[in-house]
Point group: C2
Chain length 198, copies 2
DNA sequence: GCGCGGTCTGCGGATTTCCACAATAGCCGC
DNA sequence: GCGGCTATTGTGGAAATCCGCAGACCGCGC
C-alpha cells in the first residue's frame, strides 16, 4: 500500500506524527525499531519512509544503507534532533529525499511527505512499465534477441543476415516474431520501447 | 577552461587552497567576492566552483541562486565553517554537488573537486552533442519537422501523407531531406538521435 | 517414436521505401 | 524580374521489407 512508514523508537513521536498525518488523510504505519521495519520490508511495500536518525539498536542511517543494499527505492525522509551537516550531506548524496531537523514545521513536513508519496507512485508506474517490457523480452529466444538488438541498432535485414551468418529470410522470420512478441508493428516503435521514449 | 574557481573573501584561504590544488595539478582561479565571479561568469566558463558560504557582500548561497537563474550548470561545492543543516540540505536539493564543513580533509576535498571536474567535462560533452543536434533540427523547414515527428512516431509514409493531406511522394521528399540534414540513413537511427539513446 | 519448439532456408508476390529525373507554384531578396 | 528556397506532385525503376506457403534439421520431453 502507498503508506507513510514512520520508524521511530519514541512512541510519543510516532503517535504525534500519526495524528498529524492521519488528520491530513495520509495513511500511516508506525514501526518501533529499524529492525522491525527491515524484517517486514518487501519490494512491493510502497509509499515513503520517515526515519529517525538516532534510535536504540539500529540507527536510521544504517537502516537506510541496508534498504539500499536490497534495492529499495522508496523515498526516505530523515528526521533528526541534533543537526550534523556531514551526516545530512552523506544521506542526501546517497539518495535520501530530505533531511529535516526537529523541531519541524508541521505543514512543511506534510507537504514533503505528500510530494514523496507522489514521487513513489510515479516511479512505481514507470517501473511497472519496465517490468512488463522485461517480461516480453524474456519470451524472446536467443536468436530473436540478437536480431532485435541489431534491428534497434538501425541495421538493415541484409546486414543483419551477414553479421549473423544466416540468410535474409531467416532474419525476416525472427524479426517478425520479435515484432509480434513485443507487440509493435515497426522497427521505430520497437526502438522507442527499448530506449524508453515517451 | 576547465578550472577550479575558488570564491572566498579571505585571501589566506584562497592562497592555501590555491597551493593545495596546484600541487595536485588542478588549475585554479581565485575570486575575492561573489560579485566578482558573477560579473565574470559566462556560459562557456567550465570546470567547477568552490564556494564559501559566509562572505562579506553577496553570500555563496546567493551567488549560487543567481547562477542557477542564469542556467549555470557548473558543479558547485560549498565550503562552510559553521554547520547548518537546513542550509546544507537546501543547497543540495537545489543541485549543489557537495557541502563541506571546515576544517576539511585535504585529500577528500581534492578528490571531490576532481570528480566534479570530470562530471563537468562529461556534462559538457553531452550538451555539445545536444547543441549540435538542435542546430541540425534548426535547419529543417516547418514541413520537414512535421514529417520528422511523424516518422519518429512510427507512422508509415502513406499514413503521414494522409494525416498531412499531401501526396505520398511529397512525404518521401521531405523524409529524404530530413535524413540528409540529420545525417542518418534510417528511421531507426533518427529515432535514436531524438530520443537520446546511446 | 512422436510431437513441439527453435533455427534455418527457399520461392514468390504484395507493400513500402528509396531515388533520379522532371515539373509547377508561391514567396522573398537583390 | 531573376535566382533561390520551400512545398508540391508525377513517373518509373531499384531496393528493402513484409508475409504466406513449404520444407529441413535438431534437441527435448512424454
Amino acid at each position: 500500500m502507498t503508506t507513510l512508514h514512520i520508524v521511530d523508537d519514541d512512541e510519543a513521536i510516532r503517535d504525534a506524527l500519526g495524528w498529524l498525518f492521519q488528520s491530513r488523510n495520509v495513511p500511516v504505519i508506525g514501526w518501533e525499531s529499524a529492525q522491525a521495519f527491515l524484517d517486514a520490508w518487501s519490494p512491493d511495500l510502497s509509499g515513503c519512509l520517515l526515519l529517525d536518525i538516532r534510535m536504540d539498536g539500529m540507527s536510521g542511517l544504517e537502516l537506510f544503507d541496508r534498504l539500499l543494499a536490497q534495492n529499495c527505492r522508496m523515498p526516505v525522509i530523515f528526521l533528526t534532533g541534533h543537526g550534523d551537516v556531514p551526516i545530512a550531506v552523506g544521506a542526501l548524496k546517497k539518495g535520501a529525499r530530505d533531511f529535516v531537523e526537529k523541531p519541524f514545521n508541521d505543514n512543511e513536513l506534510v507537504d514533503r511527505v505528500i510530494d514523496a508519496l507522489a514521487f513513489d507512485r510515479d516511479q512505481r508506474a514507470r517501473e511497472a512499465g519496465q517490468a512488463g517490457l522485461a517480461a516480453r523480452i524474456a519470451t524472446l529466444t536467443q536468436r530473436e534477441r540478437q536480431v532485435m538488438e541489431l534491428v534497434v541498432a538501425g541495421r538493415l535485414n541484409k546486414v543483419i543476415a551477414d553479421e549473423l551468418g544466416i540468410s535474409m529470410r531467416t532474419v525476416e522470420v525472427h524479426r517478425a516474431h520479435v515484432f509480434e512478441k513485443m507487440r509493435v508493428k515497426t522497427a521505430v516503435e520497437l526502438t522507442r520501447l527499448l530506449t524508453g521514449a515517451a
